[in-house]
């Protein structure tokens, strides 16, 4: 019995660490609607700075002072980031801030290695909490007990802050309705800045408090960021109490789960999230998201099919691309194939995001399923390459059909996180089911047949399929189905009221998108000759998101440009420097500031401004219109 109590308390200590970081994320998201990918980076910086300070100042005062000072220092940095970077892009399309914070994260990962060196750092133990307490024969670290008390204490302080201060009231109001707070004449800018500061402070504090039990290292951010997102979503976005309950739930399930299934940790949080979201679409304590009001001035120009001159230009561009093997060597051509494949992958997600308004955070699942589909067919069934290429993506299609059915019942960030959960579940199956998938050693020897094996032949194959996919999806955008999908994105209310079965339309779009992603994965398997679980992993899903956002989510074909720019740059940087993350991150941040609508989106805007002034002239009426909407 004492053991179970001890295990429970240990779980609570883990929960407290998780909660600190998650609460900060939840507050930031609740008010600013920023999906702060850099939250893990701030957590990591908190640990690094605290390490330096506590090494420098000794004694109890030095230690605890160092912890708090580190959190404050990182919070100051957070304020700087908010003022310099995020303020510029609050009005950018949804999720664009994700791109900015992703860029920051990449930079921080390289910067900490440059500043603190590559080795793991062992911080001091906390003065007064070094040993363990005997609990009926079970040893409980006293630091765990400290954390167990700290978690609820922070929850209590936050509660008081929100209930008893004017600032807290404003934050709560803003969480429910951003526009209303603006209408109340509150200085929204500084409200956002202060909220961001508090959120970052909590993240950094969470990181700093890890130093007595963890090793400070440059991968800490990725270790925690996904888990805290999951905790925030399970609890319900913007609900601090929900985050606390979710942290406890996840940590306790893990603490006891490993007693029965020692391998459960790797997937547990995602399983919990999937179950919670299917049963409660807005998390445990979340409220139904108010229908997002479109920010004034954000309305895009209606999409239109290409003119014949543009079609001609596309054909010429395609021919030029097809000439690559004439001028480039084998390496350039193989890189060309990889880019073409990522174009397919990016446009599949772009279709879902831009046309369907459904941002999938787990799109790599369908890419990877396509790749595994090919690998299974080629290695186990021994089918010829053509058959594999045709049938392999069906695995992606199947996955998308099953997961998409549940995912489209949700919307917004909840949709995104459920797709992430599904992707992680698929990933862990590929990772764990060693007999079938080879585990993380993957499936090797999936090489193309002779007719496609030369780099140029494979390049033409990839380019051709990419062109077909792009053309096909473009036709789809302008087909009745595409319009119905856009209608659902623009106004679910109106769509249902004109008889469109929105969920079925979205589900179909999800399946189409997953299948196209599967096609990309199938080609990728042959390009690389092997399939690994990281073809299904979060980093690949994030890459796809970045490509789409970089190209511009309000455009028809932004995914193509985003994929080409990002992938080419990435391959080139990785080849040229070990600090590729720093440079790439910096580039992304610059792009975000310079092209707030993505590359293609911004170019179109510029062209539009120079082309016809009609839309500018009427933007005032548009603004008035939306003001009236808001007033109603």
């Amino acid at each position: 019995m004492a053991f179970y109590v001890a295990q429970f308390l240990t779980g609570l200590a883990s929960a407290a660490s998780l909660f600190l970081v998650a609460s900060g994320l939840s507050i930031i998201f609740g008010v600013t609607r920023i999906v702060n990918f850099a939250h893990g980076a701030f957590y990591m910086l908190g640990a690094y700075v605290a390490f330096t300070l506590t090494e420098y100042f000794s004694g109890a005062f030095g230690f605890w002072g160092g912890i708090v000072a580190a959190a404050l220092a990182v919070a100051t940095l957070g304020v700087l980031v908010e003022i310099v970077l995020l303020r510029r892009i609050y009005h950018a399309p949804e999720l664009f801030q994700l791109l900015a914070t992703f860029g920051l994260t990449l930079m921080v990962e390289d910067l900490v290695v440059l500043i603190w060196g590559p080795s793991d750092l062992l911080g001091r133990r906390a003065p007064g909490f070094k040993g363990a307490v005997d609990f009926f024969g079970q040893s409980l670290p006293s630091y765990d007990l400290f954390l167990i008390v700290l978690g609820p204490a922070v929850l209590g302080i936050l509660w008081l802050l929100f209930q008893r201060t004017r600032w807290g009231v404003l934050v709560r109001a803003a969480t429910q309705d951003r526009d209303m707070v603006a209408a109340l004449g509150v200085n929204q800018k500084w409200l956002f800045t202060s909220v961001f500061a508090v959120g970052v402070f909590l993240a950094a504090l969470g990181g700093a408090l890890q130093i007595p039990r963890d090793a400070v290292n440059h991968a800490m951010d990725l270790r925690i960021i996904v888990d805290v997102f999951v905790v925030v979503v399970i609890g319900g976005l913007g609900s601090i109490f929900g985050a606390f309950v979710a942290a406890v739930l996840v940590s306790e399930l893990n603490a006891f789960g490993i007693l029965i299934f020692p391998k459960i940790s790797i997937i547990l949080v995602f399983l919990v999230m999937a179950v919670v979201l299917i049963v409660r679409p807005w998390g445990l304590f979340g409220k139904r998201e108010a229908p997002a009001r479109r920010t004034p001035g954000l309305t895009v120009n209606p999409w239109r099919p290409l003119t014949s001159a543009e079609r001609l230009a596309v054909c010429i561009a395609l021919l030029a691309a097809a000439a690559l093997p004439v001028i480039g060597g084998n390496y350039a051509v193989t890189v060309g194939s990889e880019i073409a494949i990522f174009v397919i992958f990016a446009i599949s997600l772009h279709f879902l995001m831009a046309v369907g308004g459904l941002a999938s955070f787990g799109h790599a699942a369908y890419f990877g399923l396509g790749a595994y589909g090919v690998a299974f067919l080629a290695k186990m069934a021994g089918l010829p390459m053509i058959a594999c290429l045709l049938l392999g993506p069906l695995l992606g299609c199947l996955g998308a059909a099953v997961f998409g059915f549940f995912a489209v019942q949700l919307s917004g960030v909840y949709f995104a996180m459920l797709t992430l959960a599904f992707a992680q579940i698929v990933w862990s199956v590929a990772f764990q089911w060693v007999e079938v998938t080879g585990g993380d050693n993957g499936i090797l020897g999936v090489w193309p047949e002779r007719w496609a094996s030369s780099p140029s032949h494979f390049y033409w194959l990839s380019l051709g399929i990419a062109a077909l996919a792009a053309a096909g999806l473009r036709i789809l955008v302008f087909s009745p189905f595409g319009f119905a999908l856009r209608a659902m994105r623009d106004s679910p209310l109106r769509s249902e009221a004109v008889g469109i079965n929105g969920k079925r339309v979205q589900w179909t779009a999800f399946v189409i998108s997953g299948t196209v992603a599967g096609v990309a994965g199938a080609l990728f398997a042959y390009l690389k000759g092997s399939v690994f679980p990281d073809n299904l992993g979060i980093p690949l899903s994030v890459d796809a998101l970045v490509m789409v956002l970089l190209g511009g989510v309000e455009t028809v074909s932004g995914g193509i440009v985003g994929a080409i720019v990002y992938k080419a740059l990435n391959i080139w940087l990785v080849s040229q420097t070990d600090l590729s993350k720093l440079v790439l991150g910096g580039f992304i941040v610059l792009i975000v500031v310079a092209f707030p609508k993505g590359i293609v989106g911004t170019l179109e805007m510029i062209r539009h401004r120079h082309g016809g002034g009609s839309s500018e002239a009427s933007s005032e009426t548009r603004l008035m219109g939306s003001r009236i909407e808001t007033a109603e």
Binding site: S479, P480, D490, S491, V498, I500, T621, R622, M624
Partner: protein, 263 residues
């Protein structure tokens, strides 16, 4: 024709939230070509009533019959399929499409072509969309981005969208809210003309008593979830209970005053 059941027949509609009755035992009928106003002070249950009629909300008790067919609890899209068009208090259109495309989407759905993947929507039912836009006086705006429209024009566009399924019944939630007085009159005249020409039944809620008394054939008065009066504008105006409710707000007095002056 007389053998036909009434266009809309509502029987004992009831809905409560957490023990509070939002709507209690509301029954009424609506004939084809008739314009029926549903009025009542704030919180009387108008919106709840409306949401149940168009399928966004399921009643706790009662039935809704459309030409005798029970539509209670069916989703909005099913109700639309039965020939019910609707407009919203806050306009719901597709801001990233052109005005014509907005109507075309509704026509696509009406023609059951939503799962058509490979034809170009551009040419789909173009004339029909044009006719609908002409009907509401928006023909000249067909190629404008919907997101740029002024509010009054959005309301007209919404009407065109609502008419795309050749409806027998139009449900209009506060059709003139947020509009300038002159626009209000124009929109309601337009609606009334279309309703008469095409023999469409119209049920609308409205705050502006000018609009109500000028355009409604019949008026239903809701208070605290219960129907307290119904009848012609003159009957409703004379109703003591209605007067009592509205006296505080000064609306009826104002309306009557102006109507009297006009007549």
């Amino acid at each position: 024709m007389s053998a036909l059941p009434p266009l809309l027949s509502v029987e004992g509609l009831t809905k409560s939230y957490g023990g509070v009755h939002a709507v209690r035992g509301v029954s009424f009928e609506l004939a084809a070509g008739e314009i029926l106003a549903l009025i009542g002070p704030n919180g009387a249950g108008k919106s709840t009533c409306f949401d149940m009629l168009n399928g966004q909300n399921t009643p706790d008790a009662g039935r809704i019959l459309l030409r005798g067919e029970d539509t209670t609890g069916r989703p909005p899209r099913a109700i639309w399929r039965l020939g019910v068009g609707r407009t919203f208090q806050i306009t719901a259109t597709f801001p990233t499409m052109t005005v014509r495309e907005n109507v075309q989407v509704a026509l696509v759905s009406h023609g059951r072509r939503v799962f058509n993947f490979f034809t170009a929507t551009q040419n789909f039912a173009r004339e029909q969309a044009g006719r609908l836009l002409d009907l509401v006086g928006m023909g000249g705006y067909a190629d404008r981005p919907c997101g740029e429209l002024a509010y009054g024009d959005l309301k007209r566009l919404e009407l065109a969208i609502a008419l795309a399924n050749e409806p027998k019944l139009l449900l209009m939630d506060e059709p003139t809210a947020g509009m300038a007085p002159r626009e209000r009159v124009e929109l309601m005249r337009l609606t009334a003309r279309i309703a008469r020409e095409q023999s469409i039944g119209v049920l609308f809620t409205e705050h502006d008593m000018d609009v109500v008394f000028e355009h409604a054939d019949r008026i239903l008065v809701l208070n605290r979830g219960t129907l307290i009066a119904q009848g012609s504008p003159a009957e409703v105006r004379a109703n003591r209970e209605v007067q009592a409710i509205y006296l505080g707000e000064g609306l009826v007095y104002d309306a009557r005053h102006r109507e009297g002056a006009g007549a």
